[in-house]
Symmetry: C2
Subunit: 491 residues, 2 copies
């Protein structure tokens, strides 16, 4: 296991980086900014994918697949879109390598230069809307409700495992509608789907809202988002859903004949969550001993560790454990019985604590005699002795309790860190010293937003949905405002 983790209070950022690597979630690769997602980390992502995919299908969406490459000219068709992505994209210029004539090795073959450069997709609106043009003729072809699971590339200069990587995995929904109203409803619906997933499966509480103009997706008319709070008091955008208006339909000339036979431009949405959620999961719940995983997403929900001397004792323990494993699996609970004889129980305890396994059972000689198991829960580190015939019920209860408890703990943490302020002085003090979300009045201008960002590094995370209207004055300019918005420093 190597030495102990750096603690959160000592260096939160270092704690995170160490934890992701030590818990076998991911590691850096030999390719700048690109990560390797290790099997244990990928197993969590697979569980996330499976649940999200189910929720997308329940809301009427189908999956499809579009090209990895985007011709440069496509990207340029939507003005604000190219503005947003041109500065950080991987460009394919050639399609062949060859042996250097001077024998110095393999080089790019200059005779194999592409006529038009291809961009590795940073997001797929352009290639998808170029395709939708062929799919849509009449209102009968609408809506198109399509999702894609894919890798995308954004050439970030400063990267961190899961939180900001050059390549990441995500899903991107791209829908086409006959009316503005329907598209708006779709964009809002998907924000709610994301919130439901993040809260009920990841156990991470979120605030729903919309982005200000300067924080909007490049090409969107409105961006809905869900915002979470990490343990260091910084916010993390956990998912976004965009109402794109007719911007991409106009850029790619996607029209349909409405019921009256008149040609209209199609209305669009797009929405996505990514492997960034893995970072949010780690940073919300984990502690100085390692990961804390929600039972709903843990690849191993229960681990059983035998404590024994000699094979005879192990056999006696296995006789008790094997049927339990079977019963738990029949109930859909994923169990690992770790009887490796190459490692001591204490080593195993540390390993599963580090890896965030929600429930650990230990069973030794005394438990055998008493007919009990020692049951430990990862979230609170509490242990108790449970009678063998009550252990399944106990585990089932713990699965629910732990899921609820870590959500509640994160919610309490966040609620304590939403501070309402009325002056800019107070704002700066809270942002600097306490962190978390700060609820304040703002005059609605990008100029003020930029000034605040420059002076405090805090940005407007969202204009909360369904927040109460309240007459007030912008804390910076004193101009009138009708609603508080949420500021925070963010990942």
């Amino acid at each position: 296991m190597g030495k102990k983790l750096t603690s959160r209070s000592e260096d939160y950022s270092k704690w995170y980086n160490e934890l992701v690597v030590k818990a076998d979630l991911a590691e850096n690769s030999g390719v700048r900014g690109c990560m390797v997602i290790k099997p244990y980390g990928f197993a969590i992502w697979e569980k996330m994918q499976a649940q999200l995919d189910k929720m997308f299908k329940e809301t009427g969406h189908e999956n499809a697949y579009f090209p990895l490459f985007i011709p440069k000219s496509y990207l340029s068709k939507e003005a604000s879109h190219v503005e947003g992505f041109a500065k950080e994209c991987a460009v394919v210029t050639h399609y062949r390598l060859k042996n250097a004539e001077d024998g110095s090795g393999i080089v790019v073959d200059e005779n194999a230069k592409l006529e038009e450069e291809l961009i590795v997709r940073p997001t797929s609106e352009t290639i998808i809307w170029d395709t939708y043009r062929k799919w849509v003729q009449s209102y009968r072809d609408l809506p198109i409700l399509v999702n894609q699971w894919a890798n995308v590339v954004r050439w970030e200069m400063r990267t961190r495992l899961f939180l900001r990587t050059a390549e990441f995995l995500w899903q991107e929904g791209h829908t086409a509608h006959a009316t503005e109203k329907e598209a708006l409803e779709e964009a809002e619906q998907m924000m709610h789907v994301y919130a439901e997933f993040v809260e009920n499966y990841m156990g991470v509480p979120v605030i729903k809202g919309t982005k200000t103009e300067s924080e909007r997706f490049a090409g969107a008319v409105e961006t809905y988002c869900i915002e979470a709070l990490m343990q260091d008091g910084k916010a993390l955008q956990a998912g976004t859903s965009h109402f794109l208006g007719q911007n991409f339909a106009k850029a790619f000339d996607v029209k349909f004949a409405n019921r009256e036979g008149k040609q209209e431009y199609v209305w669009a949405t797009s929405w996505g969550v990514s492997t960034r959620l893995m970072g949010a999961l780690v940073m919300t719940h984990s502690d100085d001993n390692g990961l804390v995983l929600p039972p709903n997403l843990a690849p191993i929900q229960v681990v059983i560790v035998p404590i024994y001397k000699g094979l005879e004792q192990l056999d006696a323990i296995s006789e008790k454990v094997d049927p339990l494993v079977k019963e738990l699996r029949a109930k859909g609970i994923s169990v690992k019985y770790d009887k490796r004889d190459t490692h001591k129980p204490g080593f195993k305890f540390n390993e599963y604590e580090l890896k965030g396994v929600p429930v650990r059972l230990a069973v030794g000689q005394r438990d055998l005699e008493n007919g009990t198991f020692e049951v430990a829960r990862r979230d609170t580190l509490e242990k108790e002795s449970v009678k063998a015939d009550e252990v399944i019920e106990k585990i089932e209860t713990l699965m629910k309790d732990i899921q609820e408890n870590i959500f509640k703990k994160a919610l309490d943490f966040r609620e304590e860190r939403i501070t309402m302020v009325d002056t800019y002085e107070e704002f700066k003090k809270v942002i600097e010293e306490k962190g978390g979300f700060v609820s304040a009045h703002w005059d609605g201008t990008t100029a003020t937003e930029d000034k605040i960002k420059e002076e405090t590094k805090a940005t407007i995370r969202c204009i909360p949905l369904n927040a109460e209207l309240e007459e007030g004055r912008c804390m910076v300019t004193g101009n009138s405002s009708t609603q508080r918005v949420l500021f925070a420093k963010a990942y």
Copy 2:
């Protein structure tokens, strides 16, 4: 639906291309050689993925994810590997675009040139073995049994939907072992897993074997393969599993301490199947009316079409159909009840025939009176009237029957097209006129293999596994041979 499909006898290749597009499986995109997999096609691929993934996990494999990009220098480390892939790879040279100074649009920013070019992965052995070096220290770290679902790019000049595309989706297993024996067993096991999947789920019979040296994967010591036969008499390689020896371990310096504490190089395998399987599925079973899908992979297994005049009749039909739909779904059968009033029954019949839905139920006024359904099976186009209380049983039987029947039909077709020949004259005649597999003696040299390929376009598809040894003479050179091999023209 547009006009009828080109028939297979008229132009097999055109029939295939039209069918893939008209049945909504895939279409060409605006990016040369890259396809769009449409929702209906992707739903079949998802079913393939789900089943394969289950079989991989049952054989002890876990999923992980490795970078899309491979530094040029990595590719060069294994000599025959770079030889195999350098001529057809997409090369990333820059990481930023900018506005041209002369206002002519968006151009590559020459100030953002990469120090080392990155290759879009054509396969991931190099980046993965660079990673495994960090994962393996001792025999306790072995085996590593990892699979990846990913997109890869090979810059093919002549592309065809599913069969040969610049970008395709696949899975690639990459395993690391302490002994040669274990690695060989793994490579062979995965060939068997592939064969089981392709035969039992896709309904496509395959021949298992090994590749000759010239047909082997670039960097492999032995390549196991499964070969299928299409309706035009051409073979299609449906999956390969490679024993890589210690080639990649040596190229990337991956050693482990064995039980005696001695350093040894690790033994490797890799194995993959791709969206090419979609092409094999289409070409094996489909007919001049459209797709024929195996029930085990059909996104819609049963479609129900009401035949009615006016809403009152439709309501009466729905009263009978709705509970049936519910019952079938409870049994895990995917059903679509198509009561769209925008299309006539005849149109719908053609549509589902084209899309290969295994079973179609129709119900009209007379069926209502008689308490029956008209049940049609897609594979034989047979129809019969079935009593309402027997229809579920009938459907369950048909699911099995159709699955078995299409396999048997394909098997009979193939068995009729394995021809044993002893002279080169006969060989050329069979390859030209009859097609299919030709079983013949060959002297084991690449020179003879090349000559045959040049003169007849036929290649050695495989050296069949467990074939009888038989003394013979090479049909071309007359040199001695101990086993017949299988030749065919191939996709």
